[in-house]
């Protein structure tokens, strides 16, 4: 679905934000991109939507070279909720905000209405329908950007720091929405520092540092790789760390982090 072939990108100030990145993300995959601030995560995402074009190498999305495709055509396929929702919200009211892209993509009015209602309900924003997006709290604005994107049903959904400003109840709902997306065949890319949120979904994890990919593999494998995590300044999930401390005692049932997770989950219900 998404392919980076030896992609490099240099910011105007001379900083190499991507340095020879090669990466293939398939349909219906869930991928977490982690790494310290400035590792190149957001720059990578901007290449998928065609907002940035590679200096060298190619980025191909659903068979189309992003250099030769318009951003409008790409955005029909790829929806991104950026880190700062203030950069993305501009309409007079929440409902206009939600219908803006739908109208641009030529959806019929009944369908626009249906999708707007669906999105506001899914993210608990119905009461703000007629309000200005500016009166929403930080967490609500983030949910609104997400609702806007899901409304046009893109194949790839990219969420940059989606848990910022979200309380635990909203985070749980968000995790549910992500599961719904992957089970309906969408490709989901999550950029986040919130390792405690990412880990239970057991995504494929791509670790970045200094514009390079330092590690790429399934969560259980990478989250045990202390060398890579240390180098990329990524925290280890608490239950994985706990399990490692108990490696000598396999008889303790929660030494297995996923088992511990299920246990903890059950208790909080």
């Amino acid at each position: 679905m998404i392919e980076f072939r030896d992609v490099s990108y240099v910011h105007q100030n001379g900083v190499k934000a991507l340095d020879g990145v090669s990466l293939r993300i398939g349909s219906a995959e869930i991928v977490a991109i982690v790494g310290e601030n400035g590792a190149g995560k957001t720059t990578l995402v901007k290449h998928v939507t065609g907002l940035l074009k590679p200096a060298t190498g190619d980025v191909v999305v659903d068979g189309q070279d992003t250099r030769k495709t318009s951003t409008a055509a790409l955005s029909r396929k790829v929806g991104v909720a950026f880190q700062n929702p203030d950069h993305q919200l501009f309409s007079e009211s929440v409902e206009e905000e939600m219908s803006f892209a739908l109208k641009n993509f030529g959806f019929a009015p009944e369908l626009v209405e249906q999708r707007v209602r669906w999105g506001l309900e899914l993210f608990g924003l119905e009461e703000y329908r007629k309000s200005s997006p500016l009166v929403l709290s930080g967490g609500e604005k983030k949910r609104l950007t997400l609702a806007c994107i899901l409304a046009w049903d893109p194949e790839v959904v990219i969420l940059d720091e989606p848990t910022v400003g979200q309380d635990s109840i909203q985070k749980e709902k968000l995790a549910g929405t992500i599961r719904m997306l992957t089970s309906s065949g969408k490709t989901v890319v999550l950029v986040s520092h919130d390792i405690e949120f990412l880990w239970p979904m057991q995504p494929r994890v791509v670790v970045m540092k200094g514009g390079k990919i330092l590690g790429d593999g399934p969560a259980p494998e990478l989250m045990q790789d202390k060398r890579i995590l240390e180098a990329a300044r990524v925290a280890q999930p608490q239950l994985v760390e706990f399990g490692e401390c108990l490696r000598e005692r396999p008889e303790v049932p929660f030494a297995d982090p996923l088992e511990a997770r299920r246990w903890v989950e059950k208790s909080s219900r």
């Binding site: 979200q166 706990f242 303790v252």
Partner: protein, 281 residues
Amino acid sequence: MADILEITGLSFRYPDSPKKAVSDFSLSVPEEEIVVLAGPSGCGKSTLLRTVNGLIPHMYTGEYSGNVKVGGVEVKESTMRDLAQKVGFLFQNPENQIFMFTVERDIAFGLENLGVPRAEMRDRVDEAMRLLEIGDLALRAPHELSDGQKQRVALAGVLAMKPRLVILDEPTSLLDPRTAAELVDLVGRLRRELGTTFVVVEHRLDLLVKVADRIVVMNEGRKALEGTPEAVLFGDEAEAYGVTIPSVTRLQKMLAADGRLPLTGLLSPAELARALEGERR
């Protein structure tokens, strides 16, 4: 110690809103405390902060009743100028707060606005850079810095005003875990060295519990819970109000309920594993 912040029976309703954003809320914060304010999104935290730094009622009007006192003086009777020197505010995204061409000019911005004499301004800026260990960045352009460095520059600008109370609005949310841990350590150190009081809004408590004295949880404009980090995180109610209980703390609670260890102190994953090791002996 005297209370730096005293809120009594505060209610506030925005003009267009049917319900009160803050409702009969009271809170006393003694000097040198670090208080964490948590609660579900839309619970009134941001409104409450605005009543402390004076944006309410000086910039936002609405139905206001009750009292907010900072350093013994009513906020509604103070000027924004006085408040700017008493209450420092660090926004979630430092990019909303830094805009000058060099780091030191940025830190000096608030002081310039107050007309602080040049020599004193120089001293205060240097002192703030020393405290935050960013002296080497003095002549750099803020937009070239990393997110963690930007946060420090913004905080230096706040500290240069020598506020007795500093409010941090989700200060770690955009930082990677290591940088976030460094910021939390810094808050603890500033409290020790300067005696500054901190009110920190945060959903993520795993890092802050190390330095916090108290957690206050808001819900629907009211105070829902208040207690030490242990009392709130070990209790059964916090989760219902959207507070993220660290998974290791949940595990600790369950192990304690099983009688495998006593429920004392919030343990890190390694400490919890060691406590279980002790169980074997």
